[in-house]
Symmetry: none
Subunit: 272 residues, 2 copies
């Protein structure tokens, strides 16, 4: 979980993007995950303020800044990370998978990397290259290290908006293993104050007594319908008791099923 101050220290830099819609898609992902700073490094005059796919991202686009040169776009950043589709053998830079890169970037913006007590927080730029060619050798020369999204070797090239979205998600992703987060999830699950229907997974299960009432009514309906002989044997009774036990209906669902069976019985008793 990044604090607002930490989110402020992360800058998304699109280098020479071609398609305004991709800029819009990147801005939308940034808005979804709460990253305010978009910069675009290009010598072309990209009409990104009109980007169509930027549902709800008008604010992010309006605040976006354009730079002619990459060095200007990353001038205030103390860590510059390049994104790449290529594998470790093809680059000279250190290369980290996204999962690990996320931890490094978070450590940099939080200023408290494990084991480096006196580190101070810095600004990070994450660079995304153009749709066709990615980052150039010149662009890469500005990077401290590279980040790779773990795509298949056979199909590495990603959609630009999706790549931005994945990197930001990894940064805000929560490790649910932490005790308090598990508790939070559980609270969310069980605190169904607003929900009317019992929820799967935590609705109170029916008691044995309720299940027996359901079984009794079911056995009567089975007999009246001709499914079983009068006074069905113990085997049949146990078979359906086990079935109801496996279904393990919730308290509220038993009430519905009893109503259904009563209606069936009423009608079955009228049949010839």
């Amino acid at each position: 979980m990044l604090t607002p101050e930490e989110l402020e220290r992360i800058v998304v830099v699109l280098v020479a993007p071609r398609n305004p819609n991709n800029i819009g898609a990147a801005a939308r992902a940034m808005s979804n995950f709460g990253f305010p700073h978009l910069r675009i490094a290009t010598t072309y005059d990209v009409p990104f303020h009109d980007a169509r796919s930027a549902v709800g991202a008008a604010e992010t686009l309006a605040a976006a800044r354009q730079f002619e040169r990459l060095e200007e776009a990353v001038a205030d950043c103390s860590l510059v990370v390049g994104t790449t589709a290529v594998g470790p053998r093809e680059v000279q830079h250190p290369l980290h998978r996204l999962e690990a890169a996320g931890g490094l970037i978070r450590a940099h913006v939080s200023g408290v990397p494990p084991g480096v007590a006196e580190a101070s927080a810095g600004r990070v730029a994450i660079l995304f290259g153009s749709e066709k060619t990615g980052l150039s050798r010149e662009d890469l020369s500005h990077c401290h290290w590279l980040l790779r999204i773990p795509t298949r070797v056979e199909h590495r090239s990603m959609n630009l908006g999706q790549a931005v979205s994945l990197c930001l998600y990894e940064l805000i992703r929560e490790e649910l293993l932490r005790e308090e987060l598990i508790r939070e999830e559980l609270l969310k699950e069980t605190g169904g104050a607003g929900s009317e229907l019992p929820r799967q997974g935590n609705a109170p299960a029916a008691t044995a007594e309720e299940r027996e009432r359901l079984l009794a009514l079911l056995l009567r309906a089975l007999e009246v319908s001709g499914y079983t002989q009068p006074n069905a044997d113990q085997d049949m009774q146990q078979k359906f008791r086990r079935l109801i036990l496996r279904l393990n209906p919730a308290h509220g669902d038993v009430a519905v099923l009893l109503g259904v069976l009563r209606q069936f019985l009423w009608k079955l008793n009228r049949s010839g």
Copy 2:
């Protein structure tokens, strides 16, 4: 890390997508991460084979299957997960954050969740609604539980291709201690009624198709018995679909219940 067999068991279902380019973007993300099965549930004739943004995803698009009805698209799946942008207070289904949902889905397709030694692997459908409106109430009634990508409350609505991409990334993402996370989630799931996993250790859960057959017969019996009016409304249908989902009957139990309902119907039809 998912095995090829596990990847085969995960189906991405786009429900009523509007824009062929989004279908292409979803297919590209699937190809990036190695998920082969794309299904599209729509009554429109979507020209998705021409989707433009599908760089490198021609194979995925060529193998995509179109269905007129959602129930056909998920017929062979024993777990159906809906994606949603809304928060826990606004839905009736159990809701899991993406981080936790990934563990649950992997447990289902791997068939070896910790602590449930004899569970067998099942197929999972992950549903994505249309760009404008998301999944409808009717669509949601097919879902066991919902998955939420942890976007900001102020801007929840995501680009469709990005949403697909994030969900698949979470599934192939590598993490230490994942086993523990899954165990926690499973405990949560099995703590109450109607758990998503097979209850009695080794009985495979019914597929969506089997559950639909059960629902159809139940609805007919409800009508013939006078419990519902002829041509019961959608609400009633969805109410009982959710109930059957919660009961989550095993494959073998569905066969028994179908036999019971057929006998009831035979007798009910003879009543005056």
